[in-house]
Structures are given as structure tokens and as C-alpha cells.
């Protein structure tokens, strides 16, 4: 995973975000709207819970036999004219992609939004090799033009409002290609038109594209990309060479399995019956689409996550972002506080597992939660996020066995003062805000059956949510002064 050196631990970064009133207002507006719409879209399907159970079971079957399915996938993709590469970590994936682009002789690539390529820092790696990567999702374009980092899985520019976007387009588009039209206003339709014109020029001349994928079907070798804007179709169809970088956990066994996920994903993520465009392709097709197709299968901490019997369920995630939109902590803290491409509840359990408990950031993430259980309720693949949070909290507090880059290691308990400084601050931060807690409690009332179990022994103090507010008052005031109190 991309190392973000000097990344502050969760409470510090969260404190910074909460001071940004606009970010908070945008996020609250966004998550509130998406929550309502999602609930309506889900209510249309009477069999939602059965779809959800099937989705979880299919992912579990895949994960329990991942070696089998990866080999099958490799065989099918190869038989259909694609080339499969294996990347153990970010560095290797970047090296493979850079080499493939270099081999085409091209100096630029167009990109479809992909969490995996963000995770490995591909754009930066390509830039170091003198290759320019153009992001083509509207939101990613905004983020890239503004030299920013995304704050939401699905709406990465949710922290920008239309006036800011217009200014970014006016000032920055010219540096990257076709400048913004003269007199550009701030109506969303005008801004979308500006993006269309700016990017079309790049699509029509692009020779190489880089994508991720939402699903890979082992039985057929088919890859699936779910999107809205059409930039995905452009990238998957027009260039001569397509390179898809995909986490090994995106595999599903059969073609039929797609019927589950193609019903769950659009309703969970954009609250639509179906997203505007879904592309499915198997290898290459004579005369239609790219002539060269490369699939880079990415590990980068996934097998370490797989080794943890409680934590491995995080690999079921289909990146719908429903858990972000119901999370009271995310709503207050904003995406950047999570210090990785994966924000919100899923980030709080995925980042510490993919990277290991490498720094105070990873150690603090499992504590950035009220354990209200709303994330589990909405998760279309039924990941018990509170259970994994508790499990990781215990690991931070008590240490224990974990796998790091394929090797079993014993993690030492975090030092006491580290716990108090970073970890308790995160928990106190989550619990001290009346609004956060109130909504947490309201949701908790509806999710009683999910109430986290206590962990025995010394870990208990760190894992029982009701006991978490017992932070020593001085340290809390210190924290208050350092973050919210001192900021204004």
C-alpha cells in the first residue's frame, strides 16, 4: 500500500476535518441523501436479505478456495487472449504496469477510477517513469486537477462544492490539456460539459488504458466494470492496450454468481436499480476493443488478511460505500482522516490488515468507531465490521499473532502511552460528540442482536464501548486543546 509518510493518526486528522465547516456540511448533505435513496432502492427487493446471505456465502466459498479459483481465472483469461501477471506487493505491481506501458512506447495512459491503483500509488510510480496518467472519472479529475486526495469511495470529490470545482477547472484544465471553456459557470451541467470536452480529446487519442475491476469470474475469465459516466467504457473500448490491476479477492466463481452482485451493488452504492453502464469482457475480441489485454493480480496484504480467520471477511467487500454513508464517525471526520484510499468503517478494518499495525494511524483506526453496528446492517456482503473492529482492538491492546507479508509474526501490545495518546483519543473522539453518539445509540437500538461481545481479560477495557469514555480528563483536555479547541 502507498506509504503516506507523516500521516497523522486518526484523531488528529479527524480534528482537522471537523474544523472545516464546508467539508462537514457537504458530507452531511451527501451521506444523508444517499442514505435515504439507498433505503428506497433496497426496499424494492423483497429478497434483499437472501441476496445478501448468498453474496456473503459466495465470497466465503471463493476465499476459502482462493488458490483454486485464481488458477482457474488465470487459465480462462489466458485462453481468451489475455495475459496474467502476479504482483506480490505495490512495488511489483507498479513495476509490471510501468514495464507494460513502456513496451507500447506511449508516454500517457487514461485511467478509470480504481481503488487498487490508488492503493499502490500507481500514478506517482508512472510519473516517476515519465508517464502521465489521466484520471477520467469526473470526481477523480477534480481531485487530480486540484492535486488533492479523494475523500469518499464513490464520490471522491464530495468535499468540493460547485464554485470550487469551477475555479479548479478554470485554473487547472489548461495545464493538463484542453482548457475550460471561456466564461465557465458553476451549474453542474456546464461543469460536466467542460469535463466531457477536456477528456474526449484524451480518449480519442489514447493508446493505453489502466482500469480496475469490480468482479472477475473464474469460470469464464470475464471482468466486470460497473460505472456511471461512460469514461469506463471509453477506457475499456478505445485504446489498443488495456491493463487491469485487480485485487485477488475480486474473484467470484461462476457467471451465475454475477446475478447476486449486479443486483446488490448498484442499489447499495448509488441507490440505483442499475448503474448507467456495466461493461463485461473476456480476454480480447477480434476487431472490437483492445488488441492487448493484461490482468495484474494484486496481493499487497490481501493474503495476510486472508490468514486472519476473523479479519478475512473484510475481503468480501465490494466497495459499495454504503457503510460510509451510515457511519456517524465518518460523517464527522471526513474521508481524509482515515489516511488511506479506504475511508469509513471498511477503511478502519481493511487498512490495518492490509498494511499491518505499522504506525499510530493503523493502530488508531480500529478505535475510530462507536460500534453502533449500522455499517454491518447495510453491508450487502454482511461483513460484521464491529466484530472485526473488536478483534483488531484486542490485537492493538494485547498483541498476538498476525501474518505480515506472508510470514507469521507476533505483534507486541502497543505501549501504554501510545494507547492512551492515539487510541483512546480516537475512541473519545468518536464518543464525545453528542450527535455522533445519539445517532449511534438510535441505530444501536435497532441492531441489538449485533451488540459486540466483550473480550475477556485486560482487553476488555479497550473493547467494551461503554467503558471507552473513561478517558483521563487531563489527556482529554490536552487533546481538545490540540484539535478542536485550539483550532478556531
Amino acid at each position: 500500500m502507498k506509504t503516506q509518510l507523516g500521516m497523522p493518526a486518526f484523531p488528529e486528522a479527524a480534528g482537522r476535518s471537523t474544523r472545516d465547516l464546508r467539508l462537514r456540511a457537504n458530507l452531511r448533505h451527501a451521506t444523508g441523501l444517499i442514505r435515504e435513496r439507498r433505503a428506497a432502492a433496497v426496499a424494492e427487493l423483497a429478497d434483499w436479505e437472501r441476496l445478501r446471505a448468498a453474496a456473503a456465502a459466495v465470497k466465503d466459498r471463493t476465499l476459502r478456495h482462493l488458490d483454486h479459483y485464481l488458477l482457474r481465472l488465470e487459465e480462462r483469461v489466458t485462453a481468451a487472449g489475455g495475459t496474467v501477471h502476479w504482483a506480490a506487493d505495490a512495488e511489483e505491481a507498479n513495476r509490471i504496469v510501468t514495464g507494460l506501458v513502456r513496451a507500447t512506447g506511449e508516454r500517457e495512459v487514461v485511467k478509470v477510477k480504481s481503488m487498487a491503483t490508488q492503493e499502490i500509488g500507481l500514478n506517482e510510480a508512472l510519473a516517476r517513469a515519465g508517464i502521465r496518467a489521466y484520471e477520467t472519472d469526473l470526481a477523480e479529475l477534480i481531485v487530480q486537477l486540484a492535486d488533492d486526495t479523494p475523500s469518499h469511495l464513490l464520490v471522491p470529490a464530495v468535499h468540493r462544492n460547485r464554485g470550487e470545482i469551477r475555479d479548479i477547472f478554470r485554473e487547472r484544465m489548461g495545464h493538463w490539456g484542453r482548457p475550460a471553456p471561456k466564461g465557465l459557470g458553476d451549474r453542474p451541467a456546464e461543469l460536466a460539459e467542460a469535463a466531457r470536452l477536456h477528456l474526449r480529446e484524451k480518449f480519442l487519442r489514447a493508446k493505453v488504458a489502466v482500469s480496475g475491476a469490480n468482479f472477475m469470474v473464474a469460470e469464464t475469465g470475464t471482468l466486470v466494470v460497473v460505472e456511471s459516466e461512460g469514461n469506463g467504457r471509453m477506457c475499456l473500448t478505445l485504446p489498443e492496450t488495456l491493463i487491469s490491476v485487480v485485487g485477488i479477492e475480486k474473484t467470484v466463481p461462476t457467471w451465475q454468481d454475477l446475478e447476486i452482485y449486479l443486483q446488490l451493488l448498484p442499489r447499495s452504492s448509488t441507490a440505483e436499480r442499475m448503474n448507467p453502464y456495466t461493461s463485461l469482457w473476456t480476454g480480447t475480441t477480434e476487431g472490437d476493443g483492445p488488441r492487448h489485454f493484461h490482468l495484474v493480480l494484486l496481493d499487497n496484504g490481501r493474503t495476510d488478511t486472508l490468514a486472519d480467520q476473523v479479519g478475512r471477511q473484510a475481503l468480501r467487500c465490494i466497495r459499495c460505500s454504503a457503510c460510509l454513508n451510515v457511519c456517524p464517525v465518518y460523517e464527522r471526520a471526513g474521508g481524509h482522516a482515515y489516511g488511506s484510499p479506504y475511508p469509513g468503517p471498511i477503511g478502519a478494518i481493511l487498512t490495518p490488515q492490509l498494511r499491518g499495525l505499522a504506525s499510530p494511524l493503523e493502530e488508531s483506526l480500529p478505535f475510530a468507531s462507536t460500534l453502533c453496528g449500522a455499517c454491518y446492517e447495510v453491508c450487502p456482503v454482511a461483513i460484521d465490521i464491529p466484530e472485526v473492529l473488536l478483534h483488531l482492538r484486542a490485537r492493538v491492546a494485547e498483541g498476538g499473532e498476525a501474518t505480515l507479508r506472508g510470514t507469521r509474526t507476533v505483534i507486541r501490545p502497543a505501549r501504554r502511552h501510545t494507547l492512551e495518546r492515539t487510541v483512546m483519543d480516537a475512541a473519545a473522539w468518536a464518543l464525545d460528540r453528542p450527535g455522533v453518539l445519539r445517532r449511534g445509540q438510535r441505530l444501536a437500538a435497532r441492531t441489538r442482536r449485533l451488540h459486540p461481545r466483550r473480550l475477556p481479560g485486560p482487553g476488555r477495557a479497550w473493547t467494551e464501548s461503554r467503558e471507552l469514555p473513561e478517558v483521563p480528563p487531563e489527556s482529554f483536555r490536552d487533546w481538545w486543546a490540540r484539535t478542536r479547541g485550539g483550532g478556531r
Binding site: A54, A57, I142, A157, L204, M234, I248, W281, T285
Partner: protein
């Protein structure tokens, strides 16, 4: 350094990570309950078509209904209203469909560049099938649909759905009929984005106007 080494390394890591899975367990041994619905609700064929039309319209596709005899006049009228002159068509489009239209049809061929396609006003195609519950048309690059790029670059797409055969109720039914080895494009309304303050805006990169023609025999 080389990819083959990483292949073995990753597979070995996967196997080590799964030490808790009993050696005798086969993939199919892990149960998957498939008691979810194959179709949501019960409808007559006509109700299914109405649902398709309603869901297409809900995502701002323009929906028109006619029969085979009326199709050429409807297409001619829609293209004229749009002011379309150059219209790209797949090689296998039934010739009578555009028999009434006063346009210059350009048959898709590998010789057409992306820039040529960018200069087209409209594209007319058939489809592989349409899904009523989601308001989706699916293209599979068949002879009356052509290469994927021709329905992507022009700004105006007219898509003909033949009733009742090409309409299915649900996503599970659709997947059963589709061929995974063909490149598939599922289209549910014109391209859209909600990236700016969550306002849905039609049309970023794909055709900004999608017209779906539901055609009775």
C-alpha cells in the same frame, strides 16, 4: 523479480493462510443458499413491457412504442427531429429500419477512426435483450449492434428492442441468456454523474441522449 516467482509466492501464501480450511473440503462443500428470487413479482408479458418502459423513463431514457410496420417512420421522425444527418449503423442492421429516414447512413467498419465516429450525429442499433426490473438494455456486439465503440462515441443512440422475445424480467434471467465470451455493455439510461454536489447530470462521456424503441411484431 520475475512474475512467475510471485505467482508461486502468492499461491503459497494463499494456501498457508487457509490452513484452517479442512484439506478434504472442496469448493462446492461450502454452502451457498440460492433461495433469492429469480423474478420479483408476477406480471403479464404486457405488464413486463410497461415496467421496462417505466424504468427506462425513470432514468431519463426516452421511450417510444410502435410495431414493425411503424418502425421506419418512427426512426425517420426521431432522426429528423434531432437534425441528424450522418448516422452510423452496424453492418447487420435490417435495411428497412432506415428506409424512410432522410439521412446518410454510414456502415461501421474497421476503417472508421475514432475521429470519424466523433463526427457522427447518431447511431441506430438493435440489442441482445432488455431487463424490465432494472430498465436496462444489453448489447452483445451482435450483427445488428456492431462494435462497442459505435454506441459510445456518438452523442445520440437509438436502440430498438423487439417485443416480446427480447424482454426478460430480471437480472438472473438476463445472465442466463447472455454469452460471457461476447463483449457486453449494459446500458441503463444515458450516461450520468452525481459527482458535483450529488446532482444527477445526464451525460458526461457516453451518448447524452438515449432513445429506446419498443417494437411489437
Amino acid at each position: 523479480m520475475n512474475g512467475y516467482g510471485s505467482r508461486e509466492r502468492i499461491l503459497a501464501r494463499v494456501r498457508r493462510a487457509l490452513a484452517d480450511v479442512p484439506a478434504h473440503e472442496r469448493p462446492a462443500d461450502h454452502p451457498v443458499p440460492r433461495d433469492y428470487a429469480a423474478v420479483h413479482g408476477t406480471r403479464t408479458p404486457e405488464e413486463t413491457v410497461e415496467l421496462l418502459a417505466a424504468n427506462l423513463a425513470d432514468y431519463r431514457a426516452r421511450v417510444h412504442r410502435t410495431d414493425t410496420a411503424g418502425l421506419p417512420a418512427l426512426l425517420a421522425g426521431l432522426l429528423a427531429r434531432r437534425g441528424a444527418r450522418r448516422v452510423v449503423v452496424p453492418a447487420g442492421l435490417p435495411p428497412q429500419w432506415l428506409s424512410r429516414a432522410v439521412v446518410e447512413p454510414v456502415t461501421d467498419s474497421p476503417a472508421l477512426t475514432h475521429r470519424d465516429l466523433d463526427a457522427m450525429d447518431s447511431v441506430v442499433t438493435g440489442c441482445a435483450l432488455a431487463i424490465a426490473e432494472t430498465g436496462t438494455v444489453v448489447l452483445d456486439a451482435g450483427p445488428d449492434q456492431g462494435r462497442r465503440r459505435i454506441t459510445l462515441i456518438p452523442d445520440h443512440h437509438l436502440c430498438v428492442v423487439r417485443l416480446p422475445d427480447q424482454v426478460v424480467d430480471s437480472v438472473p434471467q438476463a445472465l442466463r441468456r447472455l454469452d460471457p465470451l461476447r463483449p457486453l455493455t449494459w446500458i441503463s439510461g444515458p450516461s450520468a454523474t452525481s459527482d458535483i454536489e450529488l446532482d444527477r447530470v445526464e451525460g458526461v462521456h457516453g451518448p447524452r441522449t438515449l432513445e429506446v424503441l419498443l417494437v411489437n411484431p
